[in-house]
């Protein structure tokens, strides 16, 4: 009995000390188990408590594999944390969660962040203090700011500096694809003290996807010249299909062939059977000093350094792009690789929060210049706020805003998608399955079955129209209920009109244009592509130049 009473008193006292009456407890959840994240948030919580002694901040770090289910359960049962990192759930579900269970942040984004009052951002609206204008926190479907992004991310190639020197004698990593290719070929033939072959490139489903997306995909930039039928600078999956169907583009054209040639070359540098391996298994190989290069993002930078501490030095290099004189890729590489790092690590405030103002205030604190810099320095990530300093280790993550990007967009849907995934996976793992065979097996299938997928996609496009109508009706109601000619009303009306134009009027015309092109043929030919001058136009320009010369 005495022990029981003593236990009760202890628990009560502990609780009292932990959260005395009047204490506001904020719960914040995320899935970032990487080194430094929890320390960073704890450190900022401590800082915040110095000026807000009645606030306690508790972190709930949930593994990413279960975060989505965990978050859904919490939200459905009305016990969601005050602040949540949004993600790890399907996008449509995320939209629904934002809409129903999170506070809209739009009213605050045009006001300065009060925690910037002592720096040069004192009078800058909150959204303009982020590197992307807070685009990462803006949900286009809802036309509202719903989250605050706290970090910036991009991908690079990490390498074992010591191993590079030991195996090749080189002090610097390769700069071009050809150097990288030659070096990997050399390393591939070398064996460690146990007689095992060194692995030039770490492969896994996760890692190879990054190689493919960030390097190989760049080879397809010039697909644009044939398949950008609406000349908007990007090849959509519908345009890609129409171009293939009309014979403007073939799968064995130079840019696509170059991409898959490179995919094969890099796949051959990875360990056998890599497509069946997980991310952790790939990292393990790198940490064991058996692999030379590994690609991943800034999110892993500090963890990798920690793992390698006292064992080897981790270096960072950009993806080795082919140069214009490269014998295999020179004619498809028009320039450097475009890269615009995205912001992420997005946090929202839930409607079930008992103290939403305090939760939002803490987010503002973390998004202030000083705190954001500190948070990311502890985590080893890149800050999301402008004019902040990054840790020297990450200096090599400078983005490139003028460059090429991928335009291979075969993801039409349904059957063609599945078929492509099967064949492309086979191509990655089976050196005997050639690109020629891949094209021979896929292109006829794509042309035939792709039409059904295309038509289904157009139906889906039409199904979006009532969804948009619902959304527009909501905005119209806000405009109608606002005071006439007030700035608020004007803002709603502008939003309403621009979205009516883009989502309904022009959208319907665009869908019908695509239907017209797929059935009647696009407005271009093999002789005259979207980015080529027609003979009539050339004659006109010639005439003008002649006149100007006179």
């Amino acid at each position: 009995m005495v022990v029981y009473v003593w236990a009760l008193i202890s628990v009560a006292l502990y609780r009292y000390n932990e959260a005395p009456p009047g204490t506001i407890t904020l719960r914040i959840s995320h899935w970032q188990l990487e080194t430094g994240v929890r320390d960073g948030i704890n450190e900022l919580a401590k800082e915040y408590q110095k000026t807000h002694p009645n606030v306690r901040i508790l972190q709930e770090a949930i593994p990413e594999g279960t975060y989505g289910q965990w978050l859904s359960t919490q939200i459905m049962s009305g016990t969601a944390p005050d602040i949540i990192e949004m993600g790890m759930i399907p996008y449509q579900v995320m939209l629904a969660y934002y809409n129903r269970y999170c506070f809209v942040m739009t009213p605050f984004v045009n006001k300065p962040n009060p925690y910037n009052k002592d720096n040069e951002l004192a009078n800058v609206p909150l959204r303009n203090t982020f590197k992307d204008g807070m685009a990462a926190g803006y949900v286009n479907e809802l036309q509202e700011y719903m989250a605050i992004p706290l970090s910036s991310f991009t991908v690079r190639v990490f390498y074992n500096v010591d191993l590079l020197e030991k195996l090749t004698g080189a002090n610097n990593p390769p700069k071009t694809y050809r150097e990288f290719f030659d070096l990997c070929n050399k390393v591939k033939a070398m064996k460690d003290e146990k007689g095992r072959n060194y692995i030039p490139v770490v492969g896994s489903k996760y890692h190879f996807g990054i190689w493919e997306g960030a390097l190989c995909e760049m080879m397809t930039y010039k697909v644009l010249d044939k398949a950008d039928l609406n000349r908007d600078g990007v090849v959509g999956n519908d345009e890609f299909y129409i171009a293939i169907k009309a014979g403007l583009l073939n799968f064995d054209c130079k840019p696509i062939a170059a991409k898959y040639n490179m995919v094969r070359e890099i796949a051959d540098f990875c360990q056998p059977g890599f497509t069946g391996l997980s991310r952790d298994e790939g990292v393990f190989l790198f940490a064991q000093k058996r692999a030379l290069f590994m690609t991943t993002g800034t999110w892993d930078a500090l963890s990798l350094q920690e793992q390698a501490k006292g064992n080897f030095t981790v270096g960072i290099m950009d993806f080795p792009m082919p140069t214009k004189d490269d014998p295999a890729y020179g004619d498809v590489v028009a320039g450097p690789r475009y890269e615009n790092p995205g912001l992420g690590f997005n946090y929202s405030v839930t409607r079930t929060s008992r103290n939403p103002e305090v939760a939002f205030d803490f987010l503002l604190f973390m998004a202030s210049k000083k705190s954001n810099e500190k948070l990311n320095k502890i985590i080893g990530w890149i800050p999301s706020v402008i004019d902040t300093e990054i840790v020297p280790f990450l200096n090599d993550f400078k983005p490139c805003f003028t460059g090429i990007y991928g335009n291979f967009n075969v993801w039409l849907g349904g059957e063609t998608w599945i078929r492509w995934m099967q064949l492309a996976s086979l191509y990655q793992v089976d050196p005997n399955f050639t690109f020629k065979q891949l094209v021979e097996q896929f292109e006829p299938f794509y042309k035939e079955k792709g039409y059904d997928d295309f038509m289904e996609q157009k139906k889906n496009n039409k199904r979006v129209i009532p969804v948009n109508e619902r959304f527009l009706t909501g905005i119209r109601s806000q405009a109608l209920l606002s005071k006439n000619d007030s700035p608020e009303a004007n803002s709603f009306w502008i939003k309403y009109r621009t979205q009516t134009r883009d989502r309904q009027v022009f959208y319907e015309i665009w869908v019908s244009t695509q239907m017209h092109w797929v059935n009647e043929g696009p407005p271009f030919t093999n002789e005259y592509g979207p980015y080529e001058y027609s003979p009539e136009l050339l004659a006109k320009i010639k005439e003008r130049v002649k006149k100007e010369k006179k």
Binding site: F401, T402, G474, I494, F506, K540, V545, K546, K549
Partner: protein, 298 residues
């Protein structure tokens, strides 16, 4: 025979008491159903609509409908809210009921904004057909035209006009494009300051494209940009698309390299992170090279 009078009096008294109680309850209930702040309840109804809580929205709009004076502004607003919610609710909107409600608004508040919005909503219901069907475009256009003719100076009327032109251009025939262009010319002359003027110029550019009028296409694009409204709070809405689109039409359709250069450069200058900047750089080099080559040939 024994008189039954006391019993009769008792019955009458009981009836009177019952009636009195009923009257009191009726008055209390009436007072209860009276909505004190209808504007707030309507706003709450729309919030529920936006959140996808359609049952709640209907409940709130109905509350206002029953609790405010007949044909008051709030009652019309509630009727319109009920109409929209019944039309667009999930699962399964009730178009018939929605049409009844919109017609009720039209009947009760003729000439009002809500009359115009309700009339437009009825045409939108006609226009939006299941994904595997094609709208009856001639009928839809006629109905939009009626809304525009009835409300030539209201936003809803202008929106109806824009939808009507969209319905012509979606048909993708030259004949329809000719009609659309003619109607657009009249609209732009009559309403140069319409809130939808930028959209009208955009549609005009589209009509010119279908008709093969390349200079007209470019001119209309420039006007569209000039009148374009930007939602400053939307980080995805900027002029980069418009600049690129003008430059490309100027370069490849009209051969107007001066305009093309101007807009490629504007995009690069104003949007340094825009991914098409590499394409713009290539375009500038391409035009320079072509002109140099032609000059050398001459």
């Amino acid at each position: 025979m024994k008189s039954n009078r006391p019993f009769q009096i008792l019955i009458i008294v009981l009836i009177l008491i019952t009636v009195a109680f009923a009257a009191v309850f009726f008055l209390i209930e009436k007072k209860k159903s009276k909505v004190e702040k209808p504007a707030e309840v309507i706003a709450a109804g729309w919030l529920q609509f936006k959140m996808g809580e359609y049952k709640q929205a209907i409940k709130l709009f109905q509350k206002v409908l029953d609790g405010v004076p007949e044909n008051s502004d709030e009652q019309i607003q509630a009727l319109y809210g009920l109409g929209c919610t019944n039309w667009l609710k999930l699962p399964g909107g009730d178009k018939e009921k929605a049409a009844e409600l919109f017609n009720e608004v039209i009947k009760r508040a003729p000439g009002s904004d809500y009359d115009a919005w309700s009339m437009l909503a009825l045409v939108r219901m006609l226009h939006m057909v299941p994904a595997d069907q094609t709208p009856d475009y001639p009928k839809v256009r006629d109905e939009y035209q009626k809304v525009y003719e009835k409300f030539p100076d209201k936003i809803a009327g202008h929106e109806a006009f824009i939808y009507m032109i969209g319905a012509y251009l979606a048909a993708f025939t030259k004949e329809d494009a000719v009609i659309a262009k003619k109607k657009l010319d009249e609209f732009l002359k009559a309403h140069p300051d319409s809130p939808f003027v930028s959209s009208a110029w955009g549609l005009c550019s589209r009509a010119c494209e279908t008709l093969g009028d390349k200079q007209g296409q470019l001119d209309a694009k420039l006007k569209e940009l000039e009148k374009r409204e930007i939602d400053p709070a939307n980080p995805f809405m900027d002029n980069a698309n418009a600049y690129w689109s003008i430059a490309v039409v100027a370069e490849f359709e009209v051969g107007d390299f001066e305009t093309a250069r101007k807009y490629y450069k504007l995009m690069m200058k104003e949007y340094p992170m825009e991914r098409r900047n590499f394409g713009a750089m290539r375009a500038l080099e391409r035009m320079d090279a072509l002109e140099a080559k032609l000059k050398a040939e001459n």
